[in-house]
């Protein structure tokens, strides 16, 4: 099948930007070829669904608000009661989840086309993201693997911490170009590199 077209268009300009003379403070990148599947459990089936996600992906997370894990090219995180984002580099993840989760356990919505994943990493990542989101990015408040649902202006965003200095931002596709420009603008102060 044809590749997915990026929503960023001409706004995606690889190279160094902003005050990058002393090295880029952050690196921005659009994650492509990643399948995004939302799984939502009924209120009584959350532990069962987590087990099912574990068996389908090999990634097991705890039944706690915002809990999540990153395992290689796969990741899972919760961002609302009973609601989880499951991502994988392999598109068969949808079939595996559908096989494991019946409508009696929960529902599945494929969001690959609907959300754009932007990876932000670097030593100044917390500083840059704090300009856009009113949530606490410090490591003790937002541990590695964890997920958050929040807002930048009108743009609803899911965020997962990949490691100490890396976050994945899931934005609605139709807002992605506007958000990308805003993110670049915010990162100019510390300099940024587009991969």
């Amino acid at each position: 099948m044809a590749d997915l077209q990026s929503p960023l268009g001409a706004a995606y300009t690889p190279g160094n930007h902003g005050n990058a003379a002393g090295g880029a403070g952050v690196t921005l990148q659009e994650r492509t070829n990643v399948s995004l599947v939302q799984v939502t459990a009924w209120s009584s089936t959350i532990p069962t669904v987590l087990t099912a996600i574990g068996s389908a992906t090999g990634v097991i997370i705890q039944n706690k608000p915002g809990n999540g894990r990153v395992a290689g090219e796969k990741s899972v995180f919760g961002f609302a009661p009973g609601r989880f984002m499951v991502t994988s580099a392999t598109p068969d993840i949808e079939q595996r989840l559908r096989a494991a989760i019946s409508p009696e356990l929960g529902t599945i919505v494929v969001l690959t086309h609907g959300r754009t994943v932007i990876r932000v990493s670097g030593s100044r990542v917390e500083w840059v993201l704090a300009k856009l989101f009113a949530i606490d990015f410090s490591a003790h408040a937002f541990p590695v693997g964890a997920g958050r649902a929040t807002l930048h202006h009108d743009i609803h965003t899911l965020i997962q911490r990949i490691n100490e200095e890396t976050f994945d931002l899931y934005v609605f596709r139709t807002f992605a170009r506007s958000f990308w420009k805003t993110l670049g603008h915010a990162a100019e102060e510390v300099g940024y590199r587009v991969e």
Binding site: H113, F175, S178
Partner: protein
């Protein structure tokens, strides 16, 4: 008054020079100077003209409380008015102008206002310009007429008109403890809090830490206090759990321990690095707040107290100690408390001659008399200043015996030669933030000042802000309040012992004629204005404020509130706390609009773009904004007008085939065992009976029976539906559905997900649309059997999976083709290619609107929050078999009233366009006011009918069909005859779309 650079002292870097311009003249100063200190060092003592009377004014204060020295920074076409010279750090190339003077500071024409002094008293403008009771300029109209002339005479600096080129940012911060202020209290409290490992933010308004210690001549741990403070601040800043923000004013305290601050990131720099903001707006959410905000010295109100050279005692000291600037060769102090003695003592150490100390009290302590003796100053106990004398600035003051008990002056006036008078009327703790947080300040008799109230959020006040006025008790209070767990080792302080309690003297009021005595310097409010306000019945402090404008200037009365209140209490014969106080409001200090807006300026909203956006632009689309969306309005061919373009596009749809981007429609994935039941309750019509693979048009009402939204919902599986909503209502519908699931029917097992962004949608409309699909779709048939009206099929275009639903908004044979958004452009281009042989035309919103107006299909213009299903002729959709949201209310008399507006069509009888929003009237000629009995909701030229047509909501709707009326738009000067027709203006039986 004479001013000059002292041979030593201050935290300025004398090795380096900075050049700047003030009123077109070049001056130089040093790094560390403010504009105020640098100008003083250059002998400049006149800083501005006063607000109302244009009196010459010098400096009163040395910090954020300065009311007089407001200047305008000029940078090319950009000007920033009303910047306090006492806070503006100079940099190379800085250009500044003084304000409110013409033609120059020294000679000001408007100073004639002084001669009219008695006329310009409180309320003068309101009384004089109220205007006659009748006539064209009656009452407020006259005021509005005069106001623009008055504004020219009175006022602060002028705002510029050029766009602000600077960058501003917003920053979100979280901490366990926020310490506001880094004077002795802030430093020790922060040290205690930081030792617990908690996350600390320290916000300091000034460029360096230290607060009052910067101008102190005490010793702390054997070192000058400024040195001790610097070391302490450096140690704190180096801790990993501490963020130390300088040049950062905390200006707002909000619910939930949220505080706002402005950081002046590069205001003090001649150049900025790439991406560096000028100012940064911090929004700080903190667990606990420590308010170590210090105290402001108050002036005493006495005749002639605004003469340049009359300053706050502490300001005299600060200019000498912090900036190495002398403000007088022979300095005199006038006080009601001990703190002026410390100022005098400190100033004497810089080599300044102290002429006299004038104290209103009848008796002073041994410490005070010893200081006076030691520095060789004449001590006048039981005296008060009753006047000032000046050429261009202060040359002498008049003093008289003063009885602090009775407030009476007696004896012969005596003149004391002096060129600088340092005044101290006691200290007001800076409780602004605590007051903003919601508490009512409490009067402290001992300090003659308001103290912060009991905390209503998690905050503490410490140091002089809490009423501790000497360094030792400030430090020990801060050590206790910083943390309950740790207590830092307190340093050794060597300082004279003073009494912090002032005499309750706020004003010196000679009997008989005297000079003006100012209370609010920035708004030119005098003591006699307050008495006048009282005589005219404005007794409450809130009325007093508004009538006299006392304390309402940009300094929010930092120096004037308490003296003003004291005078009002005095005339009313009540105590100060009984007279009341005013609640402080944000901002604590003036904050630029730019920094509050942050990045949200210019293009305020994010752009929302469909997957095919770039194709539209590349193919000549002229777009407009629909909510956040940017959508094609028309695709303009060479030389076409908008009307020509949409007419061509709409005609192509009726004649052959057109394609329009409908990706913006709201799309909600609805899944779960109870999904069908849920939709039955939400929609007015039945959805549980809808077979899988079919779509149905649905209408939802609000709970009160008014129409809310419409759209089609597709049954994709037994437990899965795809709901579409109007573009504008996608968000509100989602919220509506979530509300009912969460709050009303929590037992229904249904999940909702917004999938608007998942799908790209293209609507193919026109008699040839099926032929286009037959050319390019594989994997499914699309003939009338396989894909009947409201049917859904899955297939492929190229190798891309698509979902096709046959439904029509245009009234033609039409299909909506949905694909994954990432494939939207490819599918769109494939459809265009397949349609080439049928001369397919892409069409925009204008043509889309035209097609639906011809058909009488409703949108948000008609579903406007006032209309019912009945009004819109959609009552056939109201199921009688089940209750639904709104069903209980639709039969109310008011909603079935025959006088209601209902939907009709209009056809222009004079072949003129009809304006949207026009009123429907019966008058042949335009008339104002006219009796309107309806309005136009949408209008266009209809290529199918060859006429200008419109949809309208008209009283008695259907029964008016065939009547000739007029559509009038007085604002746009349009009035024309129209005939009322059925809203189904084209293809009434729908044969085209079912064909």
């Amino acid at each position: 008054m004479t001013s000059w650079r002292l041979p030593q002292g201050g935290r300025i870097d004398r090795a380096k020079s900075i050049g700047f311009t003030f009123d077109d003249k070049a001056y130089s100063g040093h790094p560390g100077d403010t504009l105020a200190s640098a100008l003083l060092a250059n002998g400049i003592t006149l800083f501005g003209r006063s607000f109302k009377y244009h009196r010459p004014r010098g400096l009163l204060a040395a910090g954020s409380d300065e009311p007089n020295a407001l200047v305008t920074i000029i940078s090319g076409d950009v000007r920033e008015p009303n910047v306090r010279a006492t806070e503006l750090e100079i940099y190379d190339g800085l250009v500044v102008r003084s304000q409110n003077r013409f033609p120059s500071l020294e000679y000001d024409f408007m100073a004639v206002n002084q001669l009219a002094g008695p006329l310009l008293s409180a309320g003068f403008y309101y009384k004089t310009f109220m205007g006659p009771a009748i006539g064209p300029l009656r009452s407020t109209r006259f005021w509005m007429f005069c106001e623009r002339f008055i504004r020219r005479a009175a006022g602060l600096g002028k705002a510029g008109t050029a766009a602000d080129p600077d960058r501003y940012e917003r920053m979100n911060a979280f901490c366990d403890v926020l310490v506001v202020g880094s004077g002795p209290a802030g430093l020790i409290a922060a040290e205690a809090a930081a030792a617990t490992g908690a996350r600390i933010i320290i916000a300091e308004e000034r460029p360096v830490a230290g607060g009052a210690l910067l101008a102190s001549s005490e010793t702390i741990d054997g070192r000058p206090p400024a040195v001790w403070a610097r070391e302490k601040a450096e140690a704190l800043a180096s801790l990993p759990n501490v963020r130390f923000l300088t040049r950062t004013s905390v200006w707002g305290y909000y619910d939930g321990n949220v505080l706002t601050a402005v950081e002046h990131v590069s205001d003090h720099k001649p150049n900025r690095t790439i991406g560096q903001p000028r100012q940064r707006h911090w929004v700080i959410r903190t667990g606990k707040t420590i308010l170590a905000t210090g105290a402001f010295e108050r002036p005493i109100v006495f005749p002639g107290n605004d003469c340049p050279g009359v300053m706050l005692a502490d300001a005299v000291r600060r200019f000498a100690m912090e900036y190495g600037v002398g403000t007088g060769k022979n300095v005199t102090f006038f006080t009601n408390n001990d703190s002026a003695y410390d100022a005098a003592r400190t100033l004497a150490l810089t080599g300044t001659n102290i002429t006299a100390i004038i104290d209103v009290r009848s008796d002073v302590s041994g410490t005070c008399t010893n200081i006076a003796k030691a520095i060789g100053a004449e001590l006048l106990v039981g005296y008060a200043v009753t006047g000032t004398h000046a050429g261009k600035s202060l040359s002498s003051v008049t003093v008289q015996h003063f009885n602090a008990q009775t407030g009476r002056l007696s004896g012969a006036p005596r003149e004391i030669k002096t060129d600088c008078l340092g005044v101290s009327g006691g200290w007001s703790p800076a409780i602004h933030l605590a007051s903003q947080a919601g508490g009512k300040p409490e009067w402290d008799e001992d300090l003659q000042a308001f103290l912060a109230p009991e905390p209503n959020q998690n905050w503490v006040v410490t140091g002089s802000a809490a009423g501790y006025m000497d360094t030792i008790s400030v430090l020990s209070d801060a050590a206790t309040k910083g943390s309950a767990k740790t207590r830092p080792v307190l340093p050794q302080v060597e300082a004279p012992m003073f009494d912090s309690s002032p005499a309750p003297i706020f004003e010196i009021e000679p009997a008989g004629k005297s000079q003006k005595a100012f209370v609010d310097f920035q708004h030119d409010v005098t003591a006699s204005d307050i008495r006048l306000a009282y005589r005219e019945g404005f007794h409450s402090v809130e009325h007093l404020k508004r009538y006299t404008t006392l304390g309402m200037a940009t300094d929010q009365g930092k120096t004037s509130n308490v003296p003003g209140l004291a005078i009002m209490a005095d005339v009313r014969g009540i105590s100060i706390p009984a007279a009341g106080t005013t609640r402080f409001r944000a901002p604590f200090t003036p904050v630029s609009m730019g920094v509050i807006a942050g990045e949200r300026y210019g293009d305020l909203r994010p752009h929302r773009l469909t997957p095919m956006h770039d194709w539209h632009i590349a193919n000549g689309a002229k777009t407009y904004e629909a909510g956040l969306w940017h959508r094609p309005m028309i695709y303009r061919s060479h030389g076409e007008t908008v009307e020509q373009a949409y007419t061509r596009e709409a005609r192509a749809v009726r004649e052959s085939v057109g394609i329009v981007d409908v990706s913006t429609l709201g799309k909600i994935d609805i899944q779960g065992p109870d999904a069908a039941e849920f939709l039955d309750r939400i929609y007015t019509n039945m959805f549980s009976t809808l077979p899988v693979g079919k779509a149905r048009y649905g209408l939802m009402l609000r709970e009160d029976g008014i129409a809310f939204d419409d759209g089609t919902t597709w049954r994709l599986g037994e437990t899965q539906f795809l709901m579409t909503t109007t573009t504008a209502n996608a968000g509100p519908v989602m919220q509506h559905l979530e509300y009912y699931l969460d709050c009303v029917w929590p037992d229904l097992r249904v999940h909702l997900t917004s999938v608007t962004d998942v799908w790209a949608g293209a609507a193919l409309s026109g008699p040839k649309s099926r032929a286009v699909l037959e050319t390019c779709v594989t994997g499914t048939k699309v003939d009338n059997n396989a894909l009947p009206f409201m049917g859904i099929v899955q297939g492929h275009i190229g190798d891309i999976p698509v979902m096709i639903c046959r439904l029509s908004f245009s009234g033609e044979l039409a299909y909506e083709i949905y694909s994954g958004a990432g494939h939207g452009t490819q599918v769109w281009e494939a459809l265009i290619a397949a349609g080439k042989q049928f001369n397919i035309v892409p069409y925009g919103l204008e043509a889309l609107g035209t097609l639906r107006i011809e058909k009488g299909h409703v949108t948000g213009a008609e579903i406007d929050g006032r209309t019912t299903a009945h009004d819109l002729h959609l009552d056939w959709m109201l199921s009688k078999k089940k209750p639904f949201i709104g069903s209980a209310m639709i039969d109310r008399a008011g909603l079935k009233n025959e006088h209601r507006l209902s939907l009709v069509g209009l056809i222009s009888l004079d072949n003129q366009s009809i304006n949207g929003g026009s009123h429907i009237v019966s008058d042949k000629a335009p008339r104002e006011p006219a009796d309107s009995f309806g309005h136009v909701t949408a209008a266009c030229y209809s290529p199918a009918l060859g006429k200008y047509v419109a949809l309208a909501l008209v009283k008695h709707g259907t029964s008016m069909i065939g009547k000739r009326v007029f559509a009038t738009d007085l604002l746009r000067d349009k009035h024309g005859a129209v005939e009322i027709v059925s809203h189904h203006m084209f293809d009434k039986d729908g044969s085209r779309m079912h064909g």
